[in-house]
């Protein structure tokens, strides 16, 4: 939870908690027409709103639910209705337009959850919205449910679905872990990257991160080939020490976070970032030529006042999280001018509630609102022992808390 004391000490702007709470509550109820282009990603919008409310301490006070008419269980049930896993018959001749193969209907490689069943397995996590037809209710997992063969799950939706369920206090027992892990194997490509859905999509670092976050939350890494994933991340290192979205691409704040967080979740941050790139120096001189050093330089160089996403581009509030978060994972976010950055982010609050990407009259949106709050939360200094309110946050914990609900399923 964000401590108001922090803001008094370090900034001239205040965080306008109540107006933001109202903004996120309104979003949970109804979004205006321009959000139609996010129709397939509604679950990410639910995630942004819910986690933002959590950061603002909304759920800590049970009276808020009544006051603002929020039904946690209803949200949980709606999320569960977006599962795509059940046992169904997969129609013949389903063509995967990414690989142009016909997926056989008697897939002997797929796990048969019920050895007595003759029907074929449909597996996966969550989809992003109800745009394709009838809803799977929270309790119905039946072979009579009429599946649309195009109703694939999406790894980013699985990721935000799990985060949001955990944030709302759900115990995830209705999540079919094996089904999610099984699908993860189908969406990792031979180069180590991930696409988002079985039916085919672009593949890049975003989905690497989603897969790693899901594996972390389910405490099950059998769905991915870790060495291949690491190799992909290595190949995304750029000439200026940053990390691109895929090999050859320009270093970018978003992909930098996705890669750094993936490495952190895999427990491979030091292994990969502290490999000797060959410049020498050796341990006798105390500093080896490493990607870590270049990455830190790249990240701190992105601060103008706020953070820019790439060299010579504009500042944008969401990069405070992507790049501030990366530095946090590297243990050195204090190399930034945190006060200036906080001031910048707080200046991007809007009168309508929420945050925009820049100050100066822009409209707020859920993405920038969430990432602004996420960074403000993550960048809090450790709580004083007698301070109160910050006990949940330790330096190692914060990324898992804000991005994965602080939750892993015990085996």
């Amino acid at each position: 939870m964000l401590r108001s004391s922090l803001l008094d000490e370090t900034s001239t702007s205040q965080l306008n908690g109540p107006i933001h709470i109202q903004y996120f509550v309104n979003c949970l109820k109804k979004l205006p027409q321009p959000y139609s282009v996010a129709d397939t990603n509604r679950l990410t919008l639910v995630h942004f709103a819910t986690q933002s409310l959590d950061i603002l301490g909304f759920f800590d006070n049970p009276q808020n639910l009544e006051l603002y008419n929020i039904d946690k269980q209803a949200i949980i049930d709606w999320i569960y209705s977006l599962r795509t896993t059940t046992r169904v018959v997969v129609p013949r001749n389903y063509i995967d337009d990414a690989t142009d193969i016909q997926i056989p209907t008697d897939d002997s490689n797929s796990k048969d959850f019920d050895s007595n069943s003759n029907s074929n397995l449909r597996y996966g996590g969550f989809k992003g919205g109800t745009f394709l037809g009838p809803t799977l209710t929270s309790t119905s997992v039946s072979s009579t449910h009429e599946w649309n063969k195009y109703d694939d799950s999406h790894i980013a939706m699985t990721y935000v679905g799990l985060c949001t369920l955990a944030t709302l206090g759900d115990d995830l027992t209705r999540v079919d872990r094996e089904s999610i892990i099984q699908e993860m194997k189908d969406i990792q490509l031979t180069d180590g990257s991930f696409k988002s859905t079985k039916s085919g999509s672009e593949n890049d670092m975003r989905f690497v991160y989603c897969a790693c976050a899901v594996s972390h939350m389910l405490n099950d890494w059998t769905g991915m080939d870790i060495p291949k994933t690491l190799d992909y991340i290595r190949r995304c290192r750029t000439w200026d020490g940053g990390i691109g979205l895929s090999p050859g691409k320009e270093g970018h704040g978003g992909s930098t976070f996705c890669a750094t967080a993936s490495l952190s979740l895999m427990g491979k941050l030091e292994d990969v970032l502290e490999e000797d790139l060959g410049g020498g120096g050796g341990s006798s001189n105390g500093r080896v030529d490493t990607w870590r050093n270049e990455l830190i330089r790249w990240c701190v160089s992105r601060q103008v006042r706020g953070m820019q996403g790439r060299p010579n581009k504009h500042e944008d509030t969401c990069y405070s999280y992507w790049i501030g978060g990366s530095l946090r994972l590297l243990g050195c976010e204090d190399l930034l001018d945190l006060d200036e950055l906080r001031k910048f982010v707080l200046e991007c609050q809007t009168d309508l509630g929420g945050f925009s990407k820049l100050e100066g009259g822009y409209f707020p949106d859920l993405l920038h609102s969430f990432y602004s709050l996420a960074w403000l939360s993550v960048s809090q200094p450790p709580a004083k022992i007698d301070g109160g309110g910050g006990e949940n946050y330790t330096s190692g914990d914060v990324i898992p808390k804000t991005m994965a609900g602080g939750f892993t399923l015990n085996p």
Binding site: K30, D39, G286, N312
Partner: protein, 346 residues
């Protein structure tokens, strides 16, 4: 025109399927009525899995409303593939027949105009071009069109990440010496237009290294690239991109210097000298204090570090100190840490 379709008429035999958002929807969207109608028919046609011209038109209507719906695009590709297979035209050698590819490229261009950062539109474009962009006569004509298309996108936004990604895919797919050389020339055009275009610098690295097919530039090529970077840095020494490019080129050589030790020392000395001169001349040329030029000094520190001797480390530490204390205060903590690390090696 597809977008003016009278859906009730064309789909008179289809019962629309409304979206079932459950008893208590979350983050419900205030859809336009026309979008709801289109999607109600879309759900029905999808369930029926009808691959027809009218279904194709329906996807067009839906995509105009929401070009980010990846299922709509996927279904459209399924229909295109089926219609191609069913067509009685000349033998089908590609997944989608060429007329349909052209029509859909036009569609993605049109939708892409207002949505230049939409992943699904770019992915659809690439799907259409699989097998068509290649290193033969017809393939190269197609390639040329695509390079022109991305160039047109760069006229609106020269840093569009998706467009650069698409351009890289095209170049890598064709992968002949001519295209690599012409890409290098193209980056020079864009850098000349805007020396701060970091995307163009990234593409220059990509082109000069032929993606990663050239893991280490030859000494001669490295020299050319380093000279290029320095020349552009001189135009505005406060610009980060050319300095980082220069250091990237030098570091790459540094890491493999055992293979070419004497050449490397020469290279490093040359640039140490050039940068020092640029720094010292800055006052006279532009009135600015060379020491205040953060990106120049940062590059100089990196070069001194590569020199790898006590006096170089000490000199670098001093420069880092002044950046932190005076010239780059927002990165004070970073520079003072750099200073400490450098001094520890003295």
């Amino acid at each position: 025109m597809a977008a003016d379709l009278d859906l009730d008429l064309v789909f008179h035999d289809i019962t629309p399927i409304p979206q079932d958002d459950g008893p208590q929807p979350v983050c419900g969207i205030d859809y336009a009525r026309s979008y709801v109608k289109a999607m109600d028919y879309f759900r029905a046609v999808l369930r029926k899995d009808e691959h027809s011209e009218r279904a194709l038109d329906l996807t067009h209507v839906c995509l105009v409303h929401n070009p980010a719906n990846y299922t709509t695009w996927h279904f459209r590709r399924q229909i295109l593939a089926t219609l191609t297979l069913e067509s009685t035209a000349t033998p089908v050698t590609t997944k989608y027949n060429i007329d349909r590819v052209k029509a859909d490229l036009a569609l993605t261009s049109k939708l892409g105009g207002a949505n230049p950062k939409n992943y699904q539109i770019w992915y659809h474009r690439q799907s259409l071009l699989e097998g068509l962009v290649k290193n033969d006569e017809e393939g190269l004509r197609c390639t040329d069109d695509e390079l022109k298309y991305t160039a047109a996108v760069f006229e609106e936004d020269a840093k569009n990440y998706h467009a650069w990604s698409h351009r890289q895919w095209i170049v890598l797919t064709v992968n002949n010496p001519t295209i690599w050389d012409s890409e290098l020339t193209y980056t020079d055009e864009l850098i000349t237009q805007d020396v701060r275009n970091n995307s163009a610098w990234n593409h220059r690295w990509f082109a000069s290294h032929r993606a990663k097919k050239v893991p280490l530039l030859s000494y001669e090529k490295a020299l050319l690239e380093a000279e290029y970077a320095l020349k552009v840095a001189e135009m505005d020494p406060f610009n980060e991109s050319p300095w980082r490019y220069l250091i990237g080129i030098l570091k790459e050589q540094w890491r493999r210097r055992e293979e070419n030790a004497s050449n490397f020392t020469e290279l490093l000395d040359k640039y140490e000298g050039s940068i020092l001169k640029m720094k010292n001349d800055m006052k006279e040329r532009s009135g600015a204090d060379g020491c205040s030029c953060v990106n120049l000094i940062s590059a100089f520190i990196d070069i001194l570090e590569m020199k790898h001797n006590t006096s170089a480390f000490e000199e670098a530490a001093n420069f880092a100190h002044h950046l932190g204390m005076q010239h780059d205060p927002i990165r004070k903590k970073y520079w003072l840490l750099r200073e400490k690390e450098l001094r520890s090696r003295v």
